[in-house]
Point group: C2
Chain length 348, copies 2
């Protein structure tokens, strides 16, 4: 089968790989119907994350089960969503609601506990470990119109929900969202769904911030850094907001979050930090600022979000502004890296 492989920074393309087969009783093999390119894929593509070996890419996919191991309750033919990390959904961390920290889980495209290469989502098929814990059956007719919304649940929508939930957004809350990428826009949507009355979106790309306004942003601040902080403070009577959802991951974005959060407020991060050390001492402490967020436990949220997607109550798939064939995967990365595309839906 064809599968996306990143061989070096900036060099991504298709390679032939063996068709996956069931190796464990808990495995399923899924035929990918649609996959996505994620902002976090670009960290690898740009060389910001170091790697020695060629990497299988993609962690957002939906598709149809073609075969299952002997202990799997899902069945061939089921149309399923995958969480962006696999896991058993039964271990203590999973039961706590942190399926992204499953004791037996891991990342697509890495290696499993036996040292076997795992498929990525940007390919024709995927062997899914711990299938009953990882996949969710859609249980409805999957129309073309529905497809992008389902795909958004596999990562970005759930990640936005995680940002808002960790931050404790309540009706009437005020929030800043840093970042106008797909996760930033989903953070806006999630804060709005939780009843935030003011949502200030910090981003410079008008097409994206316009979509953010449709998702519920009440203000847009295009400035960055000190200038952006000053603008947010001006908009909030000098105090900043109780909640900041940080959906970028660079150190300057975290520093910007520190600049716009109100004393006693909460910074919730869902952009993967591209830094190790940073301001964590009195900067947070003296101001009673809480720092929360992390890798979104997608599987924990899908059951709650899926009905709203199926009913049309929420339309997260609007973040997909381009669709390409799997054969054009290199172009998909290029377009997203160049910020010509917000998020690309890939058809194998």
């Amino acid at each position: 089968m064809r599968a996306t492989v990143l061989t070096a920074p900036g060099r991504v393309g298709l390679e032939q790989r063996p068709d996956p087969v069931v190796l464990e009783p808990t495995d399923a093999v899924v035929e990918v119907v649609a996959a996505a390119v994620c902002g976090s894929d670009l960290w690898w593509f740009r060389g910001d994350n170091a790697f020695d070996e060629p990497r299988r890419m993609g962690h957002e996919f939906v598709g149809r089960i073609v075969s299952v191991g002997s202990s799997v309750r899902l069945a061939p033919g089921d149309f399923v969503l995958s969480a962006f990390k696999f896991g058993d959904n039964t271990c203590p961390a999973c039961r706590d609601g942190f399926t992204s920290n499953c004791a037996h889980g891991g990342y697509w495209g890495a290696v499993d506990g036996e040292g076997r290469e795992l498929d990525g989502g940007q390919g024709e098929r995927v062997r899914v470990p711990l299938a009953d814990g990882t996949l969710v059956r859609v249980g409805a007719t999957v129309t073309e119109e529905l497809l992008p919304h389902l795909l958004a649940l596999t990562d970005v929508m759930a990640t936005g929900v995680h940002a808002a939930r960790c931050a404790g957004v309540v009706p009437g809350a005020d929030a800043v969202v840093i970042g106008d990428g797909a996760v930033g826009l989903m953070s806006v949507l999630s804060a709005a769904r939780k009843g935030a009355s003011r949502i200030i979106l910090m981003g410079r790309h008008t097409a994206r911030t316009d979509l953010g306004v449709e998702f519920g942003a009440t203000d847009v601040v295009a400035e960055r850094g000190d200038e952006g902080i000053a603008r947010v403070r001006e908009l909030t009577g000098g105090d900043g907001t109780h909640v900041v959802l940080e959906a970028v991951g660079h150190l300057p974005a975290y520093e910007q979050a520190l600049g716009v959060v109100r004393d006693g407020g909460t910074i919730s991060r869902v952009g993967v930090p591209q830094y190790t050390d940073g301001p964590v001492g009195r900067t947070l402490f003296i101001r009673n600022v809480t720092l929360t967020g992390g890798v979104a436990p997608v599987r924990s949220y899908i059951d709650e979000l899926l009905p709203d997607v199926l009913s049309g109550a929420v339309d997260p798939g609007r973040v997909f502004d381009r669709e390409m064939a799997l054969d054009d995967i290199a172009e998909a990365y290029r377009a997203m890296d160049a910020r010509e595309a917000l998020k690309v839906l890939i058809r194998p």
Copy 2:
């Protein structure tokens, strides 16, 4: 009057200062009945906090009002508790419950908005700015027995409550408390009051950890660093605890907290960080660990805690294991610095 002044690291003693008088309509002057030496005073005493000018010391005191400004509702003769920072208790941060981040507040012993030196609590009298926001009338007969418990409310008990509240301790929760100083012991007491069913106290001083056990600790771990982390993991089936209350402030204590917190858990800091930068990127993010806590908003908690102190339901004053005269203030600092005393009650 006599007032405690720190002139250089390790050099603390009494000096004569003018008797304070009411300078603003919102001021009160309090005659100190009892004051305390705080673990955080020792940061200055040891030279860990740099300072150029002699510093007036002490931020924990109770006493009797001797005079008030024209707009103060409290009255001469009232026996009052003071919060360890002064503030108006009416600004937006105060209304959010963060009186320690009052827009018009500040620290004892520093300078006020007009550049005037502020008294510290370790002296005979204190000019209290924003008296109605800062002081709480006890409204009961203050017996000798009651005195240390009231004094504990001015900082350490409220700080323990802040640790437990920020961490979201719920009935049945499991917690690690790092530090067997007064704040660590108050964190144990506060976690127990919130119904934590397991409280692992990390500390090496048997007399202190014994008191911790009386306050509700279920386990004591004397080991530190990697050895201490391994011991806590062993006690918790390998996972660590959902909640960690960090009551020390050194970077190694924060690193220890990272080592014993469970994935998806919360570290709540109430030890003043003695570091600026530290692990704040993926260390927290990948594990979905929340970092919270800060300077305790004592004033926000006193109303809730005072009735339980007056009724005897809670006895935080047990952390005072020594009592000395104000004239012996240098000996009080020495004894606490040498860890001969846990916490000293000072009588002017």
